[in-house]
Symmetry: C2
Subunit: 209 residues, 2 copies
């Protein structure tokens, strides 16, 4: 039994849902409501010391951090591969993924926007401005990276880790009403991904409790 501690709108949880679907792995989704602060409750902290989602229970182990989880799934369930097996291809895929998961999402997620409010009294427009600044900075770089990729996916002919990380961030950017046309290659990659059933089934609208 694979169990995902999940929140429908969490980008990091969305990544793991896509990966599980691409691997064809059935799982039970257990909602952890971030808006109700369930992530900071004792039971979530016991399984995820950072008080975050996602957490994955699999093979008798409890795993945290979406990129580490997806790397584990790829090592233990290699088909279809989500990361290239050659070290150079792997390094490039990982770098593309980390450009989203380290350098966009953690600076612009719910807990950071909340802190802007409590520490600096940021109102909704100021928080949106902050959010859009970091997405813009990250997507500008990622568009350059994407243009150099073979396509139609960042991972080449099949979707991989970088695609899995891009799609939730793109969903998120649209939710913040960003004009994503500025990044045509990213929009094309996102469109290629979202037609696939594995991506479609992981979409927040399909995972809302």
């Amino acid at each position: 039994m694979i169990r995902l501690y999940d929140y429908w709108r969490s980008s990091a949880a969305y990544r793991v849902r896509i990966a599980l679907n691409l691997k064809g792995l059935a799982y039970e989704s257990v909602p952890v409501n971030l808006l109700a602060a369930e992530h900071t409750a004792e039971d979530n902290l016991a399984r995820n010391p950072q008080g975050l989602v996602p957490t994955l229970e699999i093979d008798g182990a409890t795993l945290t951090q979406s990129v580490a989880i997806i790397d584990y799934l790829d090592a233990t369930r290699p088909d279809p591969a989500l990361l290239p097996s050659d070290p150079l291809g792997r390094a490039r895929a990982l770098a593309g993924a980390l450009a989203v998961t380290s350098d966009i999402h953690p600076i612009a997620n719910l807990r950071v926007l909340k802190r802007l409010e409590t520490q600096f009294g940021a109102d909704q427009p100021a928080k949106e401005d902050w959010y859009r600044h970091w997405v813009r900075t990250g997507f500008d770089a990622l568009e350059t990276i994407a243009k150099a990729a073979e396509g139609p996916f960042l991972g080449g002919p099949a979707p991989g880790l970088a695609d899995i990380c891009l799609v939730p961030q793109m969903y998120n950017a649209r939710r913040f009403e960003m004009q994503v046309d500025a990044w045509p290659t990213l929009v094309a990659v996102d469109a290629a991904c979202t037609t696939l059933p594995a991506f479609a089934a992981a979409h927040p609208d399909r995972c809302k409790p």
Copy 2:
């Protein structure tokens, strides 16, 4: 010839310096002065579309993102190993590393502190308060993770990727005058690391141009 585009005080570059030293790899360090905005200059953007450091030139390739670079070094120069070869150990090591590289450092680095200043008029004490909040949040979780590790390193009997990520963050926290005694296990891990020549030689004070 291995060439590292480096900045002596960058945590991410410091990680790669440690890894190169642990692997016994000689390299040329090319300084990219972040304070002089050299990272946003055209030549740096050409090698690193995100306009960040580090970038590593190795084996005819140009690699970005410290965690991806270290993973590449480990795949191509396996001795000594910086990540466990079993998928579960690997997932745990990667999760410990990402708890620093995704969930502390990117929220509290120079470009974010600068943005707090330009967008919210944050003064030095406000920026330090922001910095310390995210380090405290991350180190609280990491202390729990570290307590469960075998020791003396996060990686067990030998230093690994998570240790490589912890040490620069600990250096950074001390630079911001944080009382790190609140995390005794992390302080012990840091002390065990910093006695090793590979860590000592990568220290910013030793790499200042």
